[in-house]
């Protein structure tokens, strides 16, 4: 792309805000009552955290993988791609994250949730709960209709933010690879919303930046402790 410095975010915006939010409205109507199952899956994650360590990592990874795969196919490939040709690539990205969750969390059993949880992990839990329980209210509070609501495991933004929260809670091999797709998605989504002048554009990128910086701090702190031991 020549003269790249002359391009602005709005040069890459292919649709109007009205069309974008109508997409969620039509999507929600088409998949109803899948949203009920989605909320159920979301609530299952904190419930699983209190269960036996042997199974919870695999089960949580399986739930998250299912959510990412659903969003990849039902939202990106089937819906978003009708107004954004780049959504095909987003679908592959979400599918890749699902595969990575299956490989890391289920096949290799590398998704470990230890107790008691430290302060940073507790922040991860709060971020997850925000994405699950509070994020759906943001749109309606900003004047968008309830039918356009974005729900964890159905819509990409709350799914990505919630996953980042869970990753902050987790330990184990391969955790860092799982951060990449959700963090990149949060940046893309934030840029899209910013181009549409949406007042909540800051939420996904700020959540991602917060989680990644907390994860870095957490890892450094754990390394310091291990060295002392």
């Amino acid at each position: 792309m020549s003269e790249w410095w002359t391009y602005t975010l709005s040069d890459f915006l292919l649709f109007s805000p009205r069309t974008y939010y109508r997409l969620f409205e039509l999507y929600n109507a088409a998949i109803w009552p899948a949203q009920v199952a989605a909320v159920g899956l979301g609530l299952a994650i904190p419930a699983l955290l209190s269960r036996a360590a042997a199974v919870r990592g695999r089960l949580i990874a399986a739930i998250l993988a299912a959510c990412w795969l659903w969003v990849a196919i039902a939202f990106h490939a089937n819906r978003y791609a009708t107004i954004n040709w780049a959504a095909v690539y987003f679908a592959w990205g979400f599918g890749f994250e699902a595969a990575l969750l299956i490989w890391t969390g289920i096949v290799r059993g590398g998704f470990v949730f230890e107790r008691p949880i430290d302060r940073t992990s507790r922040a991860g839990l709060w971020i997850f709960l925000f994405a699950l329980a509070l994020a759906p209210f943001v749109g309606p509070l900003l004047g968008r209709g309830w039918r356009q609501v974005e729900i964890f495991s159905v819509a990409p933004d709350p799914t990505a933010v919630a996953t980042l929260g869970i990753l902050l809670l987790a330990r184990g091999r391969g955790r860092w690879a799982l951060f990449v797709v959700p963090a990149v998605w949060c940046a893309i989504s934030g840029a899209t919303l910013l181009a549409m002048k949406a007042p909540d554009a800051w939420i996904p990128p700020v959540a991602a930046a917060l989680v990644v910086s907390l994860a870095v701090r957490q890892t450094l702190a754990r390394q310091r402790i291990e060295k002392r031991v």
Binding site: T6, S10, L14, F15, S16, T19, R79, T82, I83
Partner: protein, 310 residues
């Protein structure tokens, strides 16, 4: 049984007064047009096009939304009804091509359509395949105009488009840019290639093309299609903060959109401007700029001076 309508003296006087006012204001109101639609010939063929066409960037990219698709079809209906001809799209514009195809099917493929689309793919070898896919989406036998979108791989696409033109598979060929990008390259291509059209951004605040591109287009007999006439809506939002000046009536403009468009299409090198909209009332307003008196050079300067102060 219903009573026949009666007309009181007061009502009669009010009607006469309203009719008088309507005749005075006729050039300025929507729905009535001062004279026939103004057209300008395509320099290379002489075929006449109305001064205002219809763009589809963002506005027609509504996906599978049936309500929005019908709304776009109504915009197209109003566009053709008021004398419009040229509709422009691109494979880059999401579902816009399919939505145009939907509208054309619904309207029974109006014969006055002048179909303008683009090729937008890095690999030149895949250009013809993309053009065929675009044609299928529009549901038409061939395009009237195919343009290389934003000069992407133009060295590979242009020879193929000229070959298609020679074979009668497209009627005219052009190149596009927007937001003032790559003008030097546009100039070089205009000088070296037998183009029918060039598409550039031009509006009251972005007038760089007046210096070289527009004079060159006249010199080389290349038609000019103007995109971003309202600077993506920013310009119209800016001017609509203030009242329409009284002099707008001197060029038969009933609203700011028509002033902005008439400034563009009154440039003698411009063939047509292609504002995009998803609203019927706006397409009617826009097409109003294809009717009535156009600003002369003095009025063009006056419009610029006025808008630059806003």
């Amino acid at each position: 049984m219903s009573q026949p309508p009666t007309l009181s003296r007061r009502a009669l006087l009010a009607s006469v007064a309203a009719a008088g006012a309507a005749s005075i204001l006729r050039p300025l109101t929507q729905g009535t047009r001062p004279g026939p639609i103004i057209t300008r010939p395509i320099p290379s063929t002489g075929e006449k096009l109305p001064l205002v066409g219809l763009g589809s960037w963002i506005t027609f990219n509504v996906g599978d939304d049936a309500v929005a698709r019908d709304s776009c079809a109504e915009v197209m209906r109003a566009f053709f009804h008021d004398g419009g001809r040229l509709i422009d799209s691109s494979p880059m514009y999401g579902s816009s091509q399919e939505v145009i195809g939907y509208g054309l099917r619904k309207l029974g493929y109006p014969p006055q359509l002048f179909s303008a689309d683009k090729v937008w793919i890095p690999a030149g070898a895949r250009g013809p395949e993309q053009v065929e896919e675009s044609r299928r989406r529009w549901g038409i036998p061939r395009f009237d105009l195919l343009q290389v979108h934003n000069l992407l791989s133009w060295e590979e696409h242009l020879p193929k488009l000229f070959a298609m033109k020679a074979a009668g598979r497209v009627r005219s060929v052009g190149i596009t840019t927007s937001e003032g990008r790559r003008h030097a390259e546009i100039e070089r291509i205009m000088r070296s290639q037998p183009l029918d059209f060039v598409q550039v951004s031009y509006n009251l605040l972005d007038r760089e093309v007046e210096d070289r591109i527009l004079p060159l287009a006249r010199e080389r007999a290349i038609g000019v299609i103007v995109n971003r006439p309202f600077r993506r809506g920013e310009l119209i939002r800016r001017v609509e903060q203030s009242a329409l000046p009284a002099w707008a009536g001197e060029i038969d403009c009933a609203n700011w959109a028509q002033v902005l468009l008439k400034f563009i299409v009154s440039h003698p090198a411009v063939t047509c401007a292609i504002p995009a909209t998803s609203r019927v009332e706006h397409v009617r307003e826009n097409l109003g700029a294809s009717y009535g008196r156009l600003p002369d050079e003095a009025m063009r300067r006056r419009i610029v001076a006025h808008v630059e102060k806003l």
